[in-house]
Amino acid sequence: MRSDINDSALDYLLARAGLDLTNEQKVELKTVHVALAEMAERVRKPRGRMAEPAHGYGFAEEDLA
């Protein structure tokens, strides 16, 4: 389970996302980070490398014309 996020890690993620947030907004993000990290853990299951994602890619009629 991932834990609380520290200031420098949050600043890195925000910079990567191109966001310039106020201190108040950063505090808010930190309060919900744990819940979001729990969600990210929930979708990880022991499934092996061959398990495909739901989205497939198919050719449309237009491709085949």
Binding site: G18, L19, A40, R42
Partner: protein
Amino acid sequence: MSDAIPTIAEAGRQIAAKELSPVELTRACLARLHALDGELHAFVHVTEERALAEARAAERVITAGGPKGPLHGIPIGLKDIVDTKGIPTTCGSKFLQDNIPDTDAACTEKLAAAGSVLIGKLTTHEFADGGPSFDLPAPPARNPWNTAHFTAGSSSGTGAAVAAGLILGGIGTDTGGSIRGPAALCGIAGIKPTYGLVSRAGVAPAAYSLDHIGPMAWTAEDCALMLQALAGHDPRDPASASRPLPNFTALLGGGIKGLKIGVIHHFHEVDHKVSDGTRRGIDSALATFRDLGAELREVQLSPLPDWAACGSLISITERAAAYEEWTRTRLGDFSERMRSRLMLGALVSGVDYVQAVRRRRELRAELQQAMKGLDVVLTATQPSEAAKIDEVPKWDLFDRPNFTMPFNVAGYPAISICAGFGAGGLPVAIQLVGKPFQEPTLFRIADAFEKATPFRGERPALVTARAAA
């Protein structure tokens, strides 16, 4: 005409029999709109002159040769994230206050082609997410059953307008429950069709792979009539399904004896325990289905938080991608709630997203397996009656896994119908979920329930009081 608000099916029959004038029907809806929308805030833009012109044109055509179908001359509304040529489409946002599209969305075109009368554009949470917000150009919609209460969202205006009879049907969109939630809290019917059945072309995205367009109306039968006009392949939507369309009303009235309904009790009794009022509504509905001859079975799926996590991670990421440019350059111009949702995108990694999409495949397979031998499954739509509008938690997303997201994750069709009223006098609802492209079965069961119960006979007191005044 009388003050009674007809369903689409009733009005369509009366119009076809020349017992009801589309012009008079439109005037009645507009009269209710003028009387009530100052309190409800269901509309952000009213197209009164256009509506009356369309109604007069419909009347001329119908008088000359009969209606082109059951929606001809029927007053409807469109959620304000649906493009309308020449009519403002603001998505409830400061960003698009001056936006007037030069083309119609696919669903706008289809409802117009069916001869419906457009009354106007309906209130939405900003870009269909995050509300209720009090810092947007327009106020949030209010629940007609008690205007101190929330409608749910994001198709909040559609829910309020249909319940109050300002329109007979409307368009909602649903990324995690935005059709079914307002349908439930406003006491109407609303269906999220199978993913790909209704084109998303010309509708602002919330999360591409979870977004669905669908009808909201007073009854399931009315939703079926609207879906008949809305469904169909559209090459402008890359997810659009190409398959023959069924007659969505074909199974109505056929009874439900012998149909098999799976009940996902653990969703609403363990994973997210519903209120006593909602529990009574669900239990009573199950008794009704049993009385009508359906067979009930127990269904076990992964816990609700698993579905919520999968859907939320996908939703957060796809939304952040869709609105990245404005998030980076004009974050302060979003409402406070939308801004907070968009910021979450920074905390979800690419690997998190792909793991969620891999989980999605597993969850969908699980639902497919669980529904073998069943016609539909049933659970709650909402955990309780509507909360007060100023008491809606901002981070509901994390606090309480919702009952509707699982079927956006799976892409399966799901309808919410009214199942009675709670202690506060506000509606409670059930959610029925069908197999992909099996909407006729959903409508059959929902319609049988509505006809076996008294709940379609009661409109909000605010509406009946104004009619009596």
